[in-house]
């Protein structure tokens, strides 16, 4: 085990009633890099995320964060450690305002989150910081809108701002550009590039042009196991990878060249 890896998994396995969704995966994420996890539909990428953040309990395997075992930790403890995830389907709080979405992430360190007898206006002192974060993802003008009214791409941007509010050291992003049009994709790519400064990012991404633009290292997953690993050039040349993508995402592999 080495200090240069901020997040390490060894022999990570998840079985669902006999079906092995994740099969002895070894993963090493280097501090300060953007690391992609790719693979065809159903390869087990989201499940790996769920295991790393304890939304699912691994059947077997070890997870270490900064060389310290986090096997016994719960999801919320892992988040407080600085490893914050997003979700494949956009995860916002739809009936809170855009500002409140970010503010609820900023709120926890104040230590008043159990104070049910205090007026919520004590949270107003967080508004400036919340607006700053919204501004950084181009949402400052939407601060008072109820989140459910935002278009999809903007929701994903809001999600990113909310994640950034926690100042995470490691961000796990599950398909941040999924379901977006071209312009939105380009914007989110820029946002991620900006957000990744001084942090480590592990992201699942189907759009290989995004991967080629952003990522330092790529791990390819197929049927729950690691198929290949390396930088974009190495991985995209790998015949096994191309075969795994045949049929489902063949065009994308080709298109990304």
């Amino acid at each position: 085990m080495s200090q240069e890896f901020v997040l390490e998994a060894r022999g990570l396995t998840k079985e669902f009633r006999g079906f092995t969704a994740v099969d002895s995966v070894d993963l090493q994420v280097k501090e300060g890099t953007i690391h992609a996890l790719i693979g065809p539909n159903g390869a087990g990428k989201t499940t790996v995320f769920n295991l790393l953040t304890k939304y699912l309990t691994p059947t077997r395997g070890d997870i270490r964060y900064r060389d310290k075992s986090i096997n016994a930790m719960s999801s919320n403890e892992i988040a407080r450690l600085g490893m914050v995830r997003s979700f494949q389907i956009s995860a916002v709080f739809p009936h809170m305002t855009v500002l409140e979405n970010v503010r609820v992430a900023l709120q926890r360190p104040l230590g008043n989150s159990f104070h049910f007898w205090k007026h919520e206006r004590v949270l107003n002192k967080l508004n400036d910081r919340a607006l700053e974060l919204l501004d950084s993802v181009g949402l400052a003008d939407y601060a008072d809108i109820t989140t459910v009214e935002l278009p999809y791409g903007r929701k994903r941007a809001l999600e990113l701002a909310t994640t950034l509010a926690l100042e995470p050291t490691v961000m796990l992003l599950d398909e941040p550009t999924q379901g977006m049009g071209h312009e939105d994709v380009d914007r989110v790519v820029e946002l991620i590039r900006e957000a990744a400064k001084g942090r480590t990012v592990l992201m699942v991404e189907h759009n290989l042009s995004v991967v080629s633009k952003l990522c330092d290292k790529i791990t390819v997953l197929a049927r729950g196991a690691v198929l290949a690993e390396g930088d974009y050039a190495t991985v995209s040349q790998d015949p096994r990878v191309r075969e795994a993508y045949m049929g489902s995402d063949d065009t994308q592999v080709e298109g990304a060249h």
């Binding site: 953040t53 939304y55 719960s74 999801s75 919320n76 988040a79 407080r80 914050v84 995830r85 997003s86 979700f87 995860a91 916002v92 709080f93 739809p94 009936h95 809170m96 409140e100 503010r103 609820v104 992430a105 709120q107 926890r108 104040l110 008043n112 989150s113 159990f114 104070h115 049910f116 007898w117 205090k118 007026h119 919520e120 004590v122 949270l123 508004n127 607006l131 501004d135 400052a140 003008d141 601060a143 008072d144 909310t162 926690l166």
Partner: protein, 327 residues
């Protein structure tokens, strides 16, 4: 950012205007509540206030934490029995009896909550129901509850040793004060830093967890507050009617509070109050008419109609209507 600032203040102005309107609304209601006992039968009004408080407590859990408890009767009954037993047995003042009854429900709520809070959806409802049934059978068997007869003739006593509660008008204003206290506590809880987290949990629990919140603990706190206020309602009700009975512990009661909350409007502050008033008035009117035997059926039909056609309840639908037409 200049545009943002002006926008924020515009939104804040709108919010202030809304708050002002709401305050006026509450002041008018308060004035009505103050004169009401001169127009209507005070005991019936007190009944409405007690059940309104009970429904508000339930709504805190369902409307603001997204948890459907099917065992809230246990908290109403526990407050009622504890207060009834203490006031009948010892010479203590009613407020001490009510506070102790409320504490008893709080303790029971903590116990229920710890056992159930990790479960989701229907499993949560089932566990709370099962626990409440256990409490029901316990009260059926126990000595201090008076079994099937319940505790009758509980003395109302003198509030703080000074105000004679056997006077219905005095009793009424005391119940009104208790209700306002409970209502404001809920209102504050909803609009507190805690309330924000609770809202986030209701909206998207996995996301709230990923922001570092130990959501089970927040839900537990909401559950305990709800149980405490339900207990307060039960304790107060026992003093009003000088009676604590098994009916309060029966699962019917847990169902009735769901009905009141749904009809009035889940997740609106005032909905449960209106719902309680509506259901109790209807029950009262029907039981005195030739339809007396059909009360349960008619309430059932209303329940179905409500769930099928106006899910937001009376207050929720009015709010929707206002938003659509006056914005």
């Amino acid at each position: 950012m200049a545009t943002t600032d002006t926008k924020i203040s515009a939104a804040q102005l709108a919010k202030q205007a809304e708050n002002r309107r709401r305050n006026i609304f509450y002041l008018v209601l308060l004035a009505l509540a103050l004169v009401a006992p001169f127009v209507a039968y005070p005991v019936f009004l007190m009944k409405i206030l007690c059940f309104a408080l009970f429904a508000c407590a339930f709504n805190l859990l369902l409307g603001y934490a997204g948890l459907l408890s099917f065992g809230h009767a246990a908290f109403l009954a526990t407050g009622g029995y504890m207060t009834g037993f203490l006031l009948s047995t010892y010479s203590i003042t009613p407020e001490i009896g009510i506070i102790t009854g409320t504490l008893a429900s709080t303790v029971l709520g903590t116990f229920f909550g710890i056992l159930s809070i990790r479960r989701q959806g229907i499993y949560f409802a089932m566990i709370t129901l099962a626990l409440a049934q256990m409490v029901f059978f316990m009260y059926l068997q126990a000595d201090f509850t008076g079994g099937e007869d319940g505790l009758q003739g509980v003395p109302r006593g003198n509030l703080f040793g000074i105000f004679d509660l056997s006077n219905n008008l005095t009793m009424y204003y005391f119940v009104l004060a208790v209700f306002i206290f409970g209502f404001l506590l809920i209102q504050r809880t909803v609009h507190s830093p805690f309330g924000q987290v609770l809202k986030a949990i209701r909206e998207n629990e996995p996301r709230a967890i990923s922001l570092g919140y130990n959501t089970d603990v927040y839900k537990l706190v909401a559950f305990v507050i709800s149980a405490a206020i339900a207990g307060l309602a039960g304790s107060t009700k026992t003093v009003v009617f000088q009676l604590a009975s098994l009916g309060d512990a029966h699962w019917h009661m847990s169902g009735e509070v769901i009905l009141m909350t749904l009809v009035g409007g889940v997740g609106t502050l005032f909905g449960p109050v209106l719902g309680a008033g509506f259901v109790l008035t209807l029950e009262h009117q029907l039981s005195q008419s030739f339809l007396g035997d059909w009360v349960d059926v008619i309430l059932g039909v209303i329940f179905v109609v409500c769930v099928l056609t106006f899910r937001a309840g009376i207050v929720g639908e009015v709010q929707k209507f206002m938003k659509k037409n006056f914005n």
